[in-house]
Subunit: 394 residues, 4 copies
């Protein structure tokens, strides 16, 4: 029976704002201190309950989650206190990080192993121990780490499982820490979710591996704020035959995520995943589509996304829409992460391995199995997902 | 064959900004001076072509449409000049108006008949003459007149066809000018479109009549600017389980429409149709839903709609969205009117009389046959409509 | 020596958000828990120190100020706790209120006296007792009560001191509660500040009385948010010869102030004081100047003021400015109230009675002695005030 | 007598949007087709009349001004037609440009001279010919060219007149085209205005030269849109003791100016002049002051500047202001250029050479004679200037 199952969630970046928010929410639900408001699929039948989840994971910062949550200032101190003991009891495992791939990240809760194969073994060992100690029925790995710089996808190391395995053997620099986690997860049979813009499991070699092993993988880059709005508004403009002449998007944010995006190499990964969404939805190329992300400390975790959209309507007449979304990045992301965990567990239960196309609803850059352009319109994605959920309902 | 058909469009409020814009667009298409950009169903098969349309109608202002178009300042003077001769050749017929129902409207191109039955006969005569003189295959009546004050729908005069007929006989004040036009249209077998917030055909008596005569009727209140955006954003907030704590909407506009809404009685019709949209989509009542419409001359036809939306997300955290839509009311409305004409002609061709529920996509307050709550989400409405169109495709 | 003086501040509306915020700030300064940030005239020499102030006053709600402060949610609960004992020790005196003048106000901490003369005596007695018990060197009365409906200023009762005195004798309904407090303050020799839009001391009779008694009076309607911005931007537009074609201002607020302004009679007082500012600064009439104030609960004390300004520049070209001020009404008002107290004490020290024109910097509707149009530009007002302060510096 | 004087205006960048707008305005005034609306000092006494101005200048594009004006789309075609013959009669002289200094500029109306001394001679010859042919009483040179990359100001070539002269002799690359024009102007005794962010006359060598020759020079970087607003709002925040915690400014613009700023080297000149304004006004350093300028074509000359300001008020409470200025760059700039011409002529009449500090009102980076920090607050600058004008009034 689903209710009694225990669902392990091993998070890469466990001490971050999104992860601590997600964990705090589940712990509140366990205490009955909150209901299921804010969770999009709370009413879906047959999925594992939120309260079945137990959390662990890796972080370069070793602070326990109570301390981490206070530092992020996402939740009110009084909220954190409610679940203080539960959060304080979770300390991140040492992380396998590589400063080369993510320049502005820092911390000293690190694994002292250099060889890639040793790193894989270390991560696998963490997962096995977690599974046994917690008597888990399911174990999901979620990537919530900082954005890595974008790899060269044409390298042989990333093209096939065989190439990837060889590259691991020789410590090929083409393999990023994100890929190491993803590889370890898949080989351990753990469904893998990539909520970041990093390549991670979204390279041909690991997609092939996931299919071969029958392990669900989902990604990439959680669709929370500005891009979510874009995938809501653009379909409407198309529906009304309003031509998008230009779309200027700027984001200001002051959390750790923003700081890391101040590194141009990391930023480009992020901007990449935001890029093609608009053209794909509209069916034509918007030449003047500008996306800016600026680190701006006064805002903390309270991101602000300002959009200006230039439209051309009937008889060539011009109109403008401005949207200012003053959002909470982690508050938008955390419930999506929880839903993703439940949905990849369900996929595994149904025996559906490889890229989970029906989960495009959650991502800026949804992975497709055949490399075709994904659907981006939020309402279409939701429909696809609800039908998939319904198909498995008891 | 559809291509060769002649489609008459008789507009109540022919000299207004929406009507002149729609007419100018069709005349440009006839000249090849513009394509079909900005028309949502340009690619739908089987509908009458835009260029099959010939226009006539009534207005309290007798100026020809070239003069009227210059006055509205919606189109660029050079655009109007392209179709100047065609527009100058169209002069509104004298209107049947009643100052009691619309206080800020003015003009002196009026019919000197007082009795309701005489008014009906006069309108019917206009329609018959138009049909013959232009050798029309189809004739559609569109209400683009100023908003009338809202009637008391519980009066016997509006409840049944029989009651309505009797009320006409005794010049019952319950019957508004908008109803007189709608009655005449239906009895003449002309599909009737109500793009205004006035009751017009949306009273039980006339709905019953339309069914009895097998005449398509569609309405009411064109969904162009702020409400259109609301029906795009609200489904997304629901999808993401973001609770709407409050929604403050203000509109500033300076065209004739705005001036008439300065009359509180007319305004209430408008605000009514905007009201329930949000609650219906979200599935709960938003207590702090405020809608303001203010007459503000500097903006002319360039309406501005500013929205502030207060959201509550996961763990009770608050967020805000601001949307500023600097739109052109007539530019948004005109293509919708042209599509509606094509679609009610198609409905008549299929023999489908009465309220056209599949046209909810176009309206703030879509009429339903059984009085149930209509669907408001734009993307759902579009899907319903495209399926209806597809069902009739050759 | 100023430093050792004790400055009593008797506030009408002591339990309100502005008053509790001001009191909390002074109590924090007494504890050394905050500096003088946020106080515009912190560096002015010769004024009484903030920490010389002791607070008392009247309110229809009898809750102590700690309880009141928690209820207003202006300050963080942890901030309130710092000064909790001090705030808890202040309980409002029973108020002299009249529901006729302020319909949406409520509370049961009321004085059971009906005759106007008795009310005056009661207030005067409160002031004398406060002065003695606290051994005060100065005593200032500040009106921070809810807005009253606007009186008919042409009545004989309000035109002269003699008329006013007679009206008191016969309980003339022309005299509002706000006037009763102002009269009592002036006759007791207490400088009087009207931070509200109510008429209060701003009627000819009381202005005459203040001059006769040599008591400083200042008002009216604190210039905090939107109007403050207006008096900053409008002078700049004038300076650059940008013509204001229209100015649309809307405010949404959810605190007690907002609720009271839902009463149209109270609202009109408020809108009155906002009205002429713009024309006076620009030197011409802006026909399309619209000011809206809407009660909208999700915002609480966090008022939002949205302005759209239509400008016409060189060669008739049009431009627009939008300003969205997401402000904290009480946070903006409280330091102004504290400065006003220090400045009227200084005026009294200098022997300058009657309307304090140099204090226009603080008000939306600055009182002038001869009834001439006041200066509204913020930077000019600041210059006038700083010169006045400098003229009295030791 | 001033009225009869002829005032030559030789513009570097004559074909640009600002210059053509300014010329069109003056030509309209000559025809009586417009008044003096939009001109800030229209009422100042003693200055040369606008209609005394005759225009010439250089541009890399040789199109006459009528053609140029149509291309810029700043003015309505009908407005341009009114002054069509006057504009068509003005063709730019070939320009001395250097692609090294301004990478995105292009055109082929160029002088075929390479040596710096020859370039100076060429420009001087243009000025002398203009003076004689038009029988000019005054001749002013205005820099409205595209932004050049910023020079190394510590080079000896730019430090003294002597060093500059030697550098001219050896074609030192330290000397930019902007400096060549400025040098020629000053040596010809023509007051020189630098409305661009380029260094031009704002190097020690040329400042020294202007003082030595007694020639007025004014600059730099016209204060039109976002920075103008910043110098209006920041003094108000300071006045109210609201601490600026962060200020995020982004600009989108699609005219030639924007395209050139897409070159990072040119951009840095622009961002430089915008940078210190805020700190100078506030009296403290705003660490999170971000300024973005993005080229975005849909907007054309209709620049949009969006600002987000984070404020901290009394008791550390946070507030935000958003300003969206949808401005017309050229419409704001053109009248300022015309006023500057009149004011440097007046300075020359009074015998006041060197940097004109009283003209700081017009500039983002006002030059000071002793290198001290300039005043930036708009209202203070206006006061200084009006006093200077008044001091010379008859």
């Amino acid at each position: 029976m689903a209710g009694a199952a225990r669902t392990g969630v091993a998070i890469v970046g466990l001490g971050g704002a999104v992860a601590t928010t997600a964990v705090a929410g589940v712990e509140m639900m366990k205490l009955g201190a909150m209901g299921r408001d804010g969770l999009p699929f709370a009413d879906a039948e047959g999925l594992v309950p939120y309260t079945s989840m137990v959390f662990a994971g890796w972080d370069v910062d070793g602070d326990d989650l109570a301390k981490a949550a206070h530092g992020h200032r996402v939740l009110d101190p009084r909220q954190i206190e409610v679940v203080g003991p539960a959060l304080a009891g979770i300390e991140p495992w040492p992380a396998v990080a590589d400063p080369e791939y993510c320049r502005n990240a820092r911390g000293n809760n690190l694994v002292a192993v250099a060889a890639l194969r040793d790193r894989v073994a270390h991560i696998a060992e963490d997962l096995r121990r977690f599974r046994v100690e917690q008597d888990l029925d399911h174990l999901v790995v979620v990537n919530l780490a900082s954005t890595e710089r974008w790899p060269n996808l044409t390298l042989p190391a990333l093209a096939t499982v065989e190439g990837f395995e060889k590259a691991l053997d020789v410590d090929d620099a083409a393999i990023t820490p994100g890929m190491v986690y993803a590889y370890a997860a898949i080989t351990e049979g753990c469904p893998y979710i990539n909520f970041t813009p990093s390549a991670a499991a979204d390279v041909p070699a690991l997609q092939e591996l996931a299919v071969a092993r029958g392990v669900p993988v989902a990604g990439k880059d959680g669709k929370t704020g500005q891009t979510m709005m874009k995938t809501v508004l653009a379909p409407a403009f198309r529906s009304r035959a309003l031509t998008v002449d230009g779309w200027y998007s700027t984001n200001i944010l002051g959390n750790r995520d923003g700081e890391i995006l101040d590194d141009p190499a990391s930023l480009s990964s992020k901007v990449n995943t935001k890029g093609s969404v608009l053209d794909d939805i509209l069916g034509y190329k918007v030449d003047d589509h500008v996306v800016r992300i600026d680190y701006y400390r006064p805002r903390g975790d309270e991101k602000e996304a300002w959009d200006n959209i230039d439209l051309v309507g009937f008889l060539g007449q011009k109109m403008q829409v401005k949207v200012d979304f003053m959002c909470r990045d982690s508050v938008l992301a955390a419930p999506l992460v929880l839903e993703l965990v439940r949905l990849v567990v369900e996929a595994q239960r149904r025996g559906e391995g490889g890229a989970q196309e029906q989960l495009g609803y959650f991502f800026k850059a949804p992975v497709t199995r055949d490399g075709s352009r994904p659907e981006h319109a939020l309402h279409v994605q939701e429909k696809v997902l609800r039908e998939w959920i319904g198909a498995g309902a008891p």
